[in-house]
């Protein structure tokens, strides 16, 4: 009940999410919080089609999401919050009371300027800075693609990543 996971994944809804994350956490509802998706009717419709019929999907602009998050924290549904940038997660942690202090990072693609964090996650300098701020709020940040895979803690790769962004 409440928020089962807050997950950052730049592909948002895809095979891993549908086959593993939704089932393993018995998710009833997804709050997909992303400005681009919320404002793009094609992507919006593709994701709405892709989600199984027994799972509700709400696609929200970050600024319009806090009320829904606060309702979801207290109601009876199991909710997955999906974002594609740590910056959005940082805003959510700052603006929401009663969230579990855990932040899951799943796959993040290899983009121009990214640094490899794990074999499935690549991060931009700004993303690393947001993660640092999230951790400073007392949140456990960990990398994991699917629930039964071993988690890699941000604390275990933090120094390597911070050294890399300085170079």
């Amino acid at each position: 009940m409440g928020i089962s996971v807050l997950r950052c994944d730049d592909r948002l809804i895809h095979g891993q999410c549908i086959v593993k994350v939704l089932n393993d956490f018995h998710i009833d509802r997804i709050l997909l919080i992303d400005e681009f998706t919320a404002s793009n009717p094609v992507i919006n419709s593709v994701y709405k089609m892709a989600v199984p019929p027994n799972v509700a999907l709400l696609i929200l602009d970050p600024d319009a999401s806090y009320d829904e998050i606060s309702k979801a924290i207290h109601d009876k549904l199991n909710t997955l919050i999906l974002v594609k940038a740590p910056e959005v997660a940082l805003k959510i942690f700052k603006n929401s009371e009663g969230l579990k202090k855990e932040f899951n990072i799943g796959p993040m693609s290899n983009r121009r300027g990214t640094i490899k964090a794990t074999y499935f996650s690549n991060l931009l300098k700004e993303e690393i800075e947001s993660i640092e701020k999230i951790e400073a709020l007392g949140v456990r940040v960990y990398f994991q693609q699917v629930p039964d895979e071993k988690a890699i803690e941000w604390s275990s790769i933090r120094e390597k990543m911070l050294t890399n962004i300085k170079q």
């Binding site: 809804i13 895809h14 095979g15 094609v42 089609m49 892709a50 989600v51 290899n110 074999y119």
Partner: protein, 139 residues
């Protein structure tokens, strides 16, 4: 003319192309695109669009994806809003073969219809009992 692209997770597309061509021979209108770990949605979208744009002689496209809801499927859905074609998800070898054997000789609608029918008749479960029963009936 009809072009066919298979888009999947990993090397399944390459493998399916290889398997299909073992049966019906090489087809220059068949393309395989694999999505690999770390690739962005935009990169995959660009690769599919490039295959379509580089092969202008095919004016209609069937895109096959491996699993509805997965990245190859989601990205292909976006592509078909920009290009002339349809996406058929949850592909299997029979469907690819149906597309390959129909693409050259029938119109687009007929080709798609035959692919969908072939997909709807899969899969079958074969049990030992069914085989034994059938072999008794044949005696």
């Amino acid at each position: 003319m009809i072009g066919v692209i298979i888009v999947t997770h990993g090397d399944m597309a390459k493998g399916m192309k290889n398997a299909a061509e073992m049966i019906v021979g090489e087809k220059e209108f068949l393309f395989a695109i694999g999505y690999h770990v770390g690739e962005s949605l935009k990169d995959l979208e660009n690769r599919i669009c490039r295959s379509i744009d580089r092969n202008k002689k095919y004016d209609k496209w069937i895109i096959f994806s491996d699993m509805f809801g997965g990245t190859p499927s989601n990205v292909s859905s976006v592509v078909i809003t920009q290009k002339n074609g349809v996406l058929i998800t949850d592909v299997n070898l029979s469907m690819v073969l149906q597309a390959l054997t129909n693409a050259g000789k029938s119109d687009f609608k007929t080709c798609i219809k035959s692919v969908m029918e072939s997909g709807e008749n899969c899969p079958r479960m074969i049990t030992k009992e069914a085989i034994m029963k059938s072999s008794v009936n044949n005696e």
